[in-house]
């Protein structure tokens, strides 16, 4: 399963797809990246005349790359056709630096546990200077649709 196959199986589309490419994926973890478009819709409101990527969107980016892409890879034998069914079940994230419009971020996710369809990962998000922007523990349920 190539990274393109995985991205094609993601149940998201614009304007809520936050995965550009996967750089590495194995049963132990995944690394991928995304560049925030300068005209993304949320910059109009977050904040007024001061566009900064919302923490919830950074969390979403971490979850899409770090959990959903990895989950699809894990279920590759079962997911012959159709989208996987997914649900975010918990997230605990600390934020350290802002991400401005147009920035490229890299998400590094390490699997902590994947059992009974529940995937729990330790996820970090870095900016282009390789500075840690945010990190946390995110869990979700994933199964074939």
């Amino acid at each position: 399963m190539t990274s393109k196959d995985i991205i094609n199986l993601l149940p998201y589309q614009e304007p809520f797809l936050f995965v550009d490419e996967l750089n590495m994926i194995s049963s132990e973890g995944v690394t991928g990246n995304y560049t925030f478009s300068k005209d993304a819709y949320f910059y109009k409101g977050h904040f007024k005349n001061n566009p900064i990527t919302p923490g919830v969107i950074l969390t979403e980016c971490m979850a899409q790359i770090g959990l959903v892409c990895l989950g699809i890879y894990m279920l590759k034998d079962e997911l012959s056709e159709g989208n996987p069914q997914i649900a975010l079940t918990s997230s605990q994230v600390d934020f350290f630096l802002p991400v401005f419009p147009g920035e490229k971020v890299t998400v590094v996710s390490e699997k902590e546990v994947f059992r009974f369809n529940k995937l729990k990962c330790n996820v970090k998000l870095y900016n282009e200077k390789n500075e840690l922007v945010c990190r946390g523990k995110i869990s979700g349920m994933i199964q074939k649709g």
Partner: protein, 84 residues
């Protein structure tokens, strides 16, 4: 381990995941994890992983499906401990 000790340990394990405080206060052998304590399926996995750590046992898929009440959890834990 007595039944009371086992129930006390299970009670500590499920506490972070329950949504019904009243049912939790009255937890006994007949308490159902899903219908009474309102633990969701994602958290039921956490309960099982925590039970594995607490008792140093491994719970398989078949057991997981059965483990939906205090009584069932006690049976599975006792069975696994006896087999060690």
């Amino acid at each position: 381990m007595t039944n009371d000790e086992l129930i006390a340990k299970l009670k500590t394990i499920v506490q972070p995941y329950i949504q019904d405080e009243e049912a939790f206060k009255n937890l006994n052998e007949d308490t159902d994890f899903i219908n009474d304590l309102k633990i969701n399926s994602a958290n039921l996995v956490d309960v099982i992983l925590d039970v594995e750590d607490e008792f140093d046992i491994r719970i398989e898929n078949d057991d997981m499906e059965k483990m939906i009440s205090v009584k069932a959890a006690m049976e599975i834990v006792n069975e696994k401990l006896a087999a060690k």
